[in-house]
Each structure stands twice: as C-alpha cells, then as structure tokens.
Symmetry: C2
Subunit: 204 residues, 2 copies
Amino acid sequence: MNKIITISREFGSGGREIGKRLAEKLNFAYYDSEIINLLTKETGKTEEYIENISENGIYPYAFQFAKSFSMYSKIQKDQTKILVAQQKILKQIAEKGNCVIVGRGADVILKSYNPMNIFVYANTESKIMRCKNKRNDELLTDNELEKKIKDIDKERIEYHNIISNLDWGKKENYHLCINTSNLNIKDIISPLAKYIEKYFGRDK
Amino acid sequence: MNKIITISREFGSGGREIGKRLAEKLNFAYYDSEIINLLTKETGKTEEYIENISENGIYPYAFQFAKSFSMYSKIQKDQTKILVAQQKILKQIAEKGNCVIVGRGADVILKSYNPMNIFVYANTESKIMRCKNKRNDELLTDNELEKKIKDIDKERIEYHNIISNLDWGKKENYHLCINTSNLNIKDIISPLAKYIEKYFGRDK
C-alpha cells in the first residue's frame, strides 16, 4: 500500500511548508493547489470558483454569493459536484504512489488508505509572524491578520464538519500534532521525515 | 539554561517508556518515581501515602480515606505540604541539569524554565494492549483495564486542575503530541531525540 501523509493545519502555522519540505525530503509526490488544477479539468469550473468552495467552507459561500434562491440552489449543486470530484481525485492520487496531501480533508476522505495524519498548529503570535512574511498578507495589521486566521480556520472546521463527524484539530484524530510556535520549520524536517519512516515501517 | 523535557501522558500510552528511553538517548537525567523518594525525605511521609496524594488527585483521596472531619482536615494539610514540597523539588531538579520529568505537572510548575512539553496519548485498544504487558495489570480483564485507564487519567486531570488553569491534554499546551497507537516505542526514540535537539537548538 502507498504511504500517504495528510497534513491538516491552522492557517499561518507553516503546515504547507512542512508538507512541501517533507515531500521533497522523502521523495514523495506533493499535492496542494495541484488538486485545484485537477478539479478544474474534472468539473469545467474556474480555479477561483473551486478554490472558494472546495475547502473553504461550503454553505457559507453559497449564502454569501447567492443573489437569488435559484442561484443559491445552483451553487449548492456545484458544491456537491465539486466535493464528489475532489473525493474521486484524492483517491486517484492515493492509488498513484507515496504522497503528501495538504488540507482538503484528505485525512478523512482517504481513511481506508491508512494515511499518517499530521496536524500542525501554533500560537496566535507565531501565526501572525508567519503570515507577515507571506506576499499577500504583508500589508495587513496584526488585528486584521488575527481575524483572517480565525476566519479561515472557521471555514476549515465547517468544511471538515460536512465531510466527517470527527472534530478538526482534535489530537485523537491525528498521529502526530506539531506545535510550530517559535520553531524554524527547516530544522524539524529531517527528524520528522525519520519519524514518518519509522511510522510506516512499524509493521515490518 | 538547562534543557528540560516534561512528559504528560495518558495511562497506558507508553509515555513513561518514551521518557526513560529519551533520557537515556539524550544523556539527560530521568525523574519519575525518584521524585517520590525525594518527597519522602523532604516530608517524612511514607512512599505510599505520598504516591496517593502527590499526583493522583488530591481531594478525592482525602474524601475517600478520612474517617472524621479532623482526619480529613489533617490529610488536606498534608496534601498541601506535599504539593509545596513537590514544587520545591521539581525546581531543584530543573536547576541541576538537563532532564526528562514524567508527570507531576512539571509542564506547569516549571513553566519559567521554558521546558519542552510533550503529551503522549493513544487509542483505548492500544492502551489496554500496553497495560496487559505490565506486571501489575496482566490479570485484569479488558473492561477492568479500560476502567482503570479512565480512573487514573481522571485523577491526573483533577491534579492538573488544582495546580493550573490550563487543560490537561489540550494540544495547545504542549509542543509535541505523540499518538503511540500501534507504534513500537523503541522505533521512534531516535527521531524524537533529534527533534528535541532541533527544538532546543532553535535560538542558536
């Protein structure tokens, strides 16, 4: 069976960087925005539309953008379609080979593939600091960033609640929970990769 | 500053084994039952008495064993005395050198020493399996073991609530949370030790 690592993460905790670097270190395929590209091909929808409703909360989006009941109903149908397509794509990815998948509820959707599920989190101060180094967030104030972090995580929780009855971020649902507050992510990749190798080697 | 690792753990999760092996690997001092010995010297109480009221819930013990109000009151005073002595001993340990401390709320009591706090947990099935390999627990049924695990963790939570307003086992209060379900603890020591070295080396 392929080795699948899923990374769930609080916004600003560096989970995506951990995922990318781990994939590189372990020589695993890496999937994050790649999934959006595959979804556009599968559904014929635009990247932006998919980005908004594939992970970032589904019903909130529909409420926000629908100007009429028929439009709301159409968005809802699209959301379901995209969710189904996303599940299909994640399973294709899991069949393909060893991989790291960031977000998208892969921990839940790929449960039958026995992934190693990692959760990455950090304290608010540290997440704000990390966001400030990102291109899109550098001009926001600390308060704006804190709000953005909370809002995005809320959307992730909502998405997770739709596809699963397991609580997002509850340590029991993950194999390892990493607090990146004040940590240099580059430093921990090598020991983490070794931990993961041991994790997948446990049955040998 | 000395490097201090605290290990909080669910009963049966293998946290003590992780602590012991990490201390050996890192060449750090290891403290667990050693603290009880130091407490007997400091307070003049017996080991058993201290064992019961130093970590395993304080007020429940007093209620259970006191046969009169004056006895209840005496036990309560002892408990406070032992708690104070334990705090003193933990601080002495922290001043002495690099160490691994298992349990006793060291994560909270030694906060000013900037310890690396690790939480070890596992699913119930895995904890029962681990307990069955212990000398004192091998004759218990699965149901009895499950009850014992729940009871001991409840006492740990109660103790933690007395010395701190931080939730025991909540991932935000730890730097790393390790799920040992189906893991061979021996296997993960080497990558964990490397992770810890990177953690403490983060400011260099």
